[in-house]
Amino acid sequence: MSKSEDTESRTHDSSHDTKLMHIVAHTPRGKGILDCIQCGRCTSSCPMARQTSRYNPRRLMEMITIGLKEEVLSNTPWYCLSCFTCVDKCPQGADVGEVIFAIRNIAAREGHIPPGIKAQGGNIIDTGKISNPTKSILKQRQEMGLPEIEPSDTEELLKILRKTGFDKIIGHK
């Protein structure tokens, strides 16, 4: 294999942050990063990785290790479905899914939340649901004679979200 065959390759010099691995390792859910030996079992069994080449949990672990902070904190970690197949399969107990939560947390704190995810967060605050039925679905329900959807009781949830600063993290007004 040579560099030229590899379409994804880019040159990094000072753009990597070698501290990233240590930072992630010291977060509550991120210590698995130190266990990874890049065997590829997680990606081999990841249902999402089979769907899109944009998401590769093993590569994400490597990117953390070499400190490609920008890419690590970009959209990539948000592809994870949190099915935890990777955690079940990892022979080293590197808890890949957990590490992904760790970097999502870091990303969120640094303001790297993709707009779609923010919108979902807003929905939870507003309605208690990640996503709300669209107008066409509501119309279909009506036609089928189904009852109207009752709004959820979000009072308790809102207390928690405010207390933890969730609304601020996602920039909810």
Partner: protein, 438 residues
């Protein structure tokens, strides 16, 4: 040294054989205890040994015969250690000689009894890929060369009928009344060489061992490619007896795995390379793939062998630990989902036969022996050396030594087992000579 010194060697694989021969040549009276009917151990089951491709049984059989003939060695096969007490210079060990129901001094090893015995049982030596009878010789080169009746399967012992072997044996060697016998040995030292077991990959359900017929272990493959094995050395799939178009080896099945065995078994990469080369030598039309994490071709000649396997034999090496294997219910071909970690591509590969390179694990017997003799086991279940670097073959009780795989994977190859055997004999000779002086 006085010529009255004696040693008990537990385990008749290559390490135990070498320890016995070295000790016997050194003037010790040796009792070699082996729990199966024949000495030979794992090495007898191998087809070739890496990286020189020596035929395994060819180089082992002369040593086995030497053990049998050596005037200083008493072979106690089909025997197990029952009890042990005492200390260096004066161990008292009780050995149970199981009843094999065939008289050692009468049986000529002709094998007529095995032909006519009506009971078929999976053959352990052939890893269950062939059958043996209830009266059997474990393998053609077995030492001692005599048959054994396996009580658990013999019709006479189970149902009180048959006795065909007794009628046919012209040498009059069959003895249904034989009883187990306990022998008490007085020895100056003990050498443990219990070897290793093979991890059962059923635990890793995603690979489908036990469920898919064409997923086999490397030990099973070893019998498949052996010219004197159940398929006469032809690579035939268990599902349909046909030659597969491609064979995949998967490394680190149950080893380098925190849930099963955290250590590296040390031998799997090397034997996979060897087996892949053997397959390509016999069947150049079969594609071979080796899935690995780190290709551990360390040790004399191995890296060179790995290079050659790639360039001369065209073995495909893929750096990946595959996620799962699925069987096509019609063709019984197997599809492996994997990520090539060097090109970062995720794809399926469909092949005819998958070989799981399973971890080598401690034998359960170690626990019993450790309790009887008082030697410690390490966290993994292998015998603990009294010092990892300085006293690698001394166990934690003076006068007890270890060699071979029962000390853990160590360097995990035959030459190192042979060296450890010699080292154990040297340590024993040093310490006993020291006692004599004192």
């Amino acid at each position: 040294m006085k010529d009255s010194k004696s040693v008990l060697v537990v385990g008749g694989g290559i390490a135990g054989i070498q320890a016995s021969l070295d000790a016997a040549d050194r003037g010790f009276k040796v009792y070699l205890v082996e729990k199966t009917p024949s000495i030979g151990g794992r090495m007898a089951q191998l087809d070739k040994t890496f990286p020189t491709m020596d035929c395994s049984i060819c180089i082992l059989a002369p040593k086995m015969a030497e053990c049998y003939r050596h005037s200083n060695i008493t072979l106690l096969t089909y025997s197990e250690v029952q009890d042990a007490k005492g200390s260096i210079g004066n161990f008292e060990v009780a050995v149970l000689k199981k009843a094999r129901h065939v008289k050692e001094d009468k049986c000529v090893g002709c094998g007529i009894c095995t032909e006519k015995c009506p009971v078929k049982v999976p053959n352990e030596f052939e890893m269950g890929l062939a059958d043996r009878k209830a009266i059997y010789m474990p393998f053609p080169q077995a030492v001692p060369r005599l048959t054994t009746i396996d009580e658990e399967n013999c019709l006479f012992f189970q149902k009180g009928t048959c006795r065909v072997c007794e009628k046919l044996c012209e040498a009059g060697a069959i003895d249904f009344d034989e009883k187990p016998e306990e022998i008490v040995l007085n020895v100056d030292a003990i050498i443990l060489a219990t070897g290793f077991d093979v991890f059962n990959p059923k635990a890793i359900t995603a690979y489908g061992y036990g469920k898919y017929k064409n997923v086999i272990t490397a030990m099973e493959l070893e019998r498949l490619i052996c010219a004197s094995g159940p398929t006469d050395g032809y690579i035939l799939r268990p599902s349909d007896g046909k030659e597969p178009e491609s064979v995949v080896f998967i490394q680190c099945v149950g080893s380098r795995d925190q849930r099963y065995n955290p250590y590296c078994s040390s031998i799997c990469c090397k034997y996979a390379i060897k087996d892949a080369v053997l397959i390509r030598e016999h069947h150049p039309e079969i594609d071979t793939y080796v899935f690995y994490i780190d290709l551990r071709a360390f040790g004399k000649g191995f890296q060179e062998f790995a290079n050659r396997s790639k360039e001369e034999y065209g073995i495909n090496y893929i750096r990946s630990n595959p996620g799962e294997i699925r069987e096509d219910p019609i063709t019984q071909d197997l599809t492996i989902w994997y990520e090539d970690t060097l090109t970062r591509t995720i794809k399926p590969l469909t092949v005819g036969l998958v070989v799981l390179c399973t971890a080598s694990i401690p034998r359960p017997d170690n626990k019993k022996l450790s309790e009887l003799i008082g030697v410690e086991l390490d966290d993994l279940g292998f015998f603990r050396a009294s010092h990892d670097i300085d006293h690698p073959v001394d166990l934690t009780v003076p006068g007890v030594y270890g060699c071979g795989f029962c000390l853990g994977p160590r360097v995990g190859d035959i030459p190192h087992s042979v060296m450890q055997a010699g080292a154990a004999v040297a340590r024993m000779s040093e310490e006993l000579a020291g006692m004599e002086e004192a």
